[in-house]
Amino acid sequence: MRTASSSPSPSLSPSRRAWLRFKRNRLGYWSLVVFVVLVAVSLCAELVSNDRPLVVRYEGQLYFPMVKDYPETTFGGDFLTPTDYLDPFIREKLAEGSNWALFTLNPYGPNTLNYFAKMPNPSAPTRDNWLGTDDRGRDLAAQLLYGFRVSVLFALALTVTGVLLGVVTGAIQGFFGGKTDLAFQRFIEIWGSMPELYLLIIFSAVFAPSIALLLILLSLFGWMGLSDYVRAEFLRNRQLDYVKAARALGVGNWQIIWRHILPNSLTPVVTFLPFRMSAAILALTSLDFLGLGVPPGTPSLGELLSQGKNSIDAWWISLSTFAVLVTTLLLLTFMGDALRDALDPRKADQ
């Protein structure tokens, strides 16, 4: 009864209490908030940074260029080609009389080439291109936004597949132990000694580079570290008394794994999530930097970094890409730190 009266809100589940501890770490909590906002914004990147206007009203009619291609002739141009909304002539037409066009915040897409730019490429930050342009004249802010999105989504996918594979293999090894464990361990040793980078180079030479290919290749090697942790947790937890009690009750193996051991073995998995994310972002960036990553034309932070390296005078390219990367990785690290503290069993509740 003493315990009941001393805890103010009695029925908090352990994960709920961990979340409350996480929230108390202000740096980690606000990192999460900022990160979520950044990801949310980048997921709607098309509405933020696009070379087409959201809505156009031209001579009493509404047009939605985001969803439909309109030939230039629609807006009083001469050609049947799709409209280039950056064209000063078109702009003029759209501003005539009662016509108007609602542009996105940054009027460039990631691959938009501005044929009407006032500055030579690469251009330093101007009023038209807030962060400047790269050596092909593409807007840097747009590229960073889209590149961030690709990086985060890729990292998320890689983390999910890595965690799934790692948990499943770790659980099987740890729970069944014995020969199963022995065989898996040897397999992991052999698999882990494969030269990952060379395989990536070979595969990127044989197959057409694509994000899916990269995801598969990196997933094949990304699960082993986690699997060891999960295995160790399972080895420890499977001989705890509550598992023996469940066995004595006649609970089946899969039920024991699923209901009893797995929830109590996920602490290292959850703790590593942010760190795995940042490792995945870094991996993609470095591969792109080396030219082994995403296919050309995909906005990518690594590709921007290598451009920055090649044209060292265009400081705005390397500087802004660097800033985006550092911010992302820092946010993830802060979250990871807070998460680790929140799940640390030695830390008190108060």
């Binding site: 009864m1 003493r2 315990t3 009941a4 805890s7 009695p10 029925s11 908090l12 589940s13 352990p14 994960s15 705890l240 008394d241 509550y242 023996k244 009690a245 469940a246 066995r247 004595a248 009750l249 006649g250 609970v251 089946g252 039920q255 209901r259 009893h260 929830p263 109590n264 008190a348 108060q350």
Partner: protein, 538 residues
Amino acid sequence: MNAASQLPLVQVRDLHVRFGAKEVVRGVNFDIAAGEKLALVGESGSGKTITALSLLGLAGDAAVQGSALFQGRDLLRLTERELRGVRGGDIAMVFQEPMTALNPLMTVGRQISEVLELKQALTQAQSWQAAIELIASTGIPEPARRAAAFPHQLSGGQRQRAMIAMALASRPALLLADEPTTALDVTLRGQILGLLADLQRQTGMAVLLITHDLNLVRRFADRVAVMEQGALVEQGPVADVFGQPAHAYTRRLMASKPRRDVQEDAANPNAPPVLQAQALRVVYPTPLPGVRGWFRKGEFVALQGADLRLQPGRTLGVVGESGSGKSTLAQALLGLLPYQGNVEVAGRRWQAPAARNSQANQALRRQIQVVFQDPFSSLSPRLTVEEIVGEGLRVHEPGLPPAELRQRVQAALAEVGLDETQFPGLLARYPHEFSGGQRQRLAVARALIVQPQLLVLDEPTSALDVTIQQQVLALLQRLQRERGLAYVLITHDVDVVRAMAHEVLVMKDGVIVESGSATQVLNAPREGYTQALVAAAQ
């Protein structure tokens, strides 16, 4: 003895220790005279260990107030640097668990000689010799050879002796002994305590013994101080405090020896046994050394030729020290281990392999259930009370409608004395919100819900404080009377067996060395080993 010196060696005044907002020691005053043996007793969480640790500035990030005069200096005002001189110097400490208190990567001789080099400025050769002498003085045979051994190569008792040798290396004026015998087997406890008493007589140091075991206090200490929830409720000479306890809590502590309250006569002596085993044998594979081990596994015989028989409504006490095969016996009876020989639960045998959940085995599992020692590891921390207690029904009566399941869970909880009026929202709570004794009740409820005839109790009260222990035993006795349950009670605590058992088995090294009725085995033990066990518990 305590009149010998005018000024006490240690004078603790108004000691307060606070962790954040929680005050764990509240205004404690006591003195220790030079050469005096003071015992600090209390249940877990009473603040006795933290009191000792705060004297050495080892209380972590706790806020410590008050004063502790030691040889004219206030220990609580010393700087970290000055404290380091005191620790392991004038004041030494012996911990409960020698395996974790000794460095596993250094030989014990080296660990002791390191202290000597630091505190007495001896050369390496001198200190090694002195270390061997110290080890010899603690009664470890072959001290020169043992000094070169690593902690894991020593037995539990030897490790604790080595710890004591290390503490004595600096010739302390005060020895803080924190539960020095709790991790040891009963027969060893007396020896270690005797050693401490001998050494105390020889060196004339003062000893502060921290313990929850009143038997030890009675045998060892001059004076005793009783702590309850951070406050010192009573202190005085052992004979006075134990003879006429003044405080209600002390009286409760004194009265907490388990009481016997069971049906003595079997209802029907000819009833078929609910459990019997013949020639039960369990072996564990162990690695063989060298190349042989690549192809074959060695065998470690954990249990050999065990016969037993238990009738409904009776309790079979299984006594023995750690490593004697008690828990192996329990797991074999529960069908959780492969075994040789014959086990019959309610007249039926486990279908091989016993660990497989075949239909026949599932039916047997309803008959025999288990309650474990550690109430903290025996309940999954991430399941609610309803999920934990209801698990058995979900397995054995899968079609049960949720409303009825809930009702049965509530009934089982009520039977072990837990209900909604005490704990609003009981079913949705998680184990961490319950105390040790309450968790043990939950574990009993989980076992009872499938209505077994037989419970295996594996050290059910060893992890609990004495007053709580009493309550749990009373609960088990009541359930036995009401439901006619049979118990296999595994324990190292002779007092518990005395209170509960009808028949007793004594185990040593995997073999049953003595068996018979409880009165016969406990009052007139035949085997030397049983005699030692019983004597150690007096």
